[in-house]
């Protein structure tokens, strides 16, 4: 396949076309607003295209490790079942749909693990979970890029 420009570079180029060439020619205020929103969505998509598979795989590994650590100290049937579901998913595939599927299942195992840690009152495990969530939100903020509310 043609590797360069990369997907994110292609999307960013479309953003420039929208902003520099098309937006100045629009006079309808509603259409201008929709175009600005569209450009923001594309800009966010460019960030995701460049990194999302790596980000999700890294976080999946961390979520599964957390679930295993909780299961070792506070075993529960819902947690065991959730971990079994993760293990049954396609770990090696780099196709986006497979990566997303495994990432969501790891998130569900994490949630069951957090419930077990909360139920047991394990402050250290709850604090670890908070750190993982901090990392997750930092990634989401990187995707948001230069997002500002428009139209209100």
């Amino acid at each position: 396949m043609i590797t360069r420009p990369t997907t994110d570079a292609l999307i960013v180029d479309c953003c420039r076309e929208l902003t520099d060439a098309i937006l100045p020619g629009l006079t309808d205020e509603t259409l201008r607003l929709r175009l600005v929103m569209t450009e923001t969505v594309l800009r966010n998509a460019a960030v995701r295209a460049a990194h999302e598979i790596a980000w999700m795989r890294e976080e999946t590994a961390a979520l599964v490790a957390y679930a295993a650590a909780v299961a070792a100290r506070h075993p529960s049937e819902p947690l065991r079942a959730a971990m079994t579901t993760v293990e049954a998913s396609a770990a090696a595939s780099l196709h986006l749909a497979d990566v997303v599927d495994r990432y969501e299942k790891a998130g569900q195992a994490f949630e069951k693990a957090l419930t077990a840690a909360q139920g047991a009152g394990s402050a250290d495990l709850i604090a670890q979970a908070r750190e993982l969530l901090r990392d997750r939100v930092e990634i989401e903020k990187r995707v948001m890029a230069t997002y500002t509310i428009v139209g209100r």
Binding site: V41, E104, Q118, L133, R136, V137, M144, R152
Partner: protein, 330 residues
């Protein structure tokens, strides 16, 4: 004049046949994220001109935020007798959408500007801040037994709060991308419940753009689509995240809350920066669910429009805010 103008003229012929109203101008009001709004000027047969606001549902399957137009129309009908707060006078309601293309409320257009615009122009925002606070304190003081029976009336404060938190459990179950954050935040909220206050009428979109002020008369409170009976501190929490400047809460939080406590009789223990933070989480539950539902619909045959992917960032923003609140208040 777009297609709505002729539709409105036919609607007027049906509801006011003797007055022979002609729509001489009709323009969309841009900027809202939920309803479709338009301003229409009508000339009656006797030469009198009036201006109306039309507030209708977007086409089915489009948009992000949904609300019940019947409930809003009924509430607007009940509020004049229920509260000291002024609201726009409802003139007609197309409850079937037969005439206006979708269910739509037709209201008098007040000769007024938004309080937000006035604040942006003011040298001293103190008096306008007080007006804003007093207006919403009056909303919150509305006797609940005068509100429409169709509006859910929670039996007590704890049941209401537990219901919202159970709703977050359900949202987490339906939206796996948000489940880890919501699971953590909901657990935290269950273990850090603030002191109760009497349930009140919550506006649901509390910000100065929804207060209109004119050269005379009381302020008008508009956009009641998300109103409900709940914890009035939800409105305060909701306003803290408004990005529209100036945000008069953040200009001076202590002054803001002093004024609100004085207007409502609530205590420092009940109303303080921490409880306001807490009720941002509670007050955002319904809107966050609508954001997540719209995001899940992207890619379906009936796409929800560009607002849905655009507001995915708002979901991330909520995640960030909620976790920061948990950290600050723990």
């Amino acid at each position: 004049m777009d297609a709505l103008g002729p539709r409105f003229e036919r609607f007027l012929a049906a509801v006011e046949p003797a007055r022979e109203g002609r729509v001489v101008a009709c323009e969309a009001i841009t900027g809202g994220y939920s309803r479709i709004s338009a301003r229409a000027r009508v000339r009656w047969r006797d030469g009198v001109e009036e201006t109306f606001i039309l507030r209708g549902d977007p086409p089915p399957g489009s948009g992000v935020f949904t609300s019940d137009r019947d409930a809003e129309a009924e509430l607007l009908g009940a509020l004049p007798a229920a509260t000291s707060v002024s609201t726009p006078r409802v003139r007609w309601y197309d409850g079937s959408g037969e005439h206006l293309g979708s269910k739509a409320i037709v209201m008098d257009c007040a000769p007024a500007v938004s309080l937000q615009d006035e604040m942006a122009r003011a040298q001293d925002i103190g008096p306008l801040t007080d007006l804003f606070i007093d207006t919403f304190a009056a909303v919150h003081a509305t006797p609940l037994d005068r509100l429409p029976a169709r509006m859910p009336h929670p039996p007590d404060w704890l049941s209401y709060l537990d219901g919202v938190l159970a709703g977050y459990d359900r949202i987490a179950g339906e939206h796996p991308g948000s489940a880890p954050v919501l699971g953590y935040v909901t657990w935290w909220a269950r273990t850090h419940k603030p002191p109760p206050v009497p349930l009140g009428l919550v506006h649901g979109d509390c910000n100065p753009t929804n207060v209109l002020v004119g050269p005379s008369g009381p302020p008008l409170v508009i956009d009641w689509e998300f109103a409900r009976i709940g914890d009035p501190r939800e409105d305060l929490g909701y306003y803290t995240q408004s990005p529209v400047q100036p945000n008069v809460y953040w200009a001076d939080p202590e002054r803001f809350l002093d004024r609100y406590r004085a207007a409502t009789g609530l205590t420092q223990e009940q109303v303080n920066p921490q409880t306001v933070d807490y009720f941002l989480i509670i007050g955002m539950a319904a809107l966050l669910e609508q954001l997540l539902t719209a995001a899940a619909a992207i890619g379906a045959a009936e796409r929800p429009g560009i607002l849905a992917p655009y507001l995915i960032n708002a979901i991330s923003h909520q995640h960030d805010m909620f976790l920061a609140i948990c950290d600050r208040l723990s």
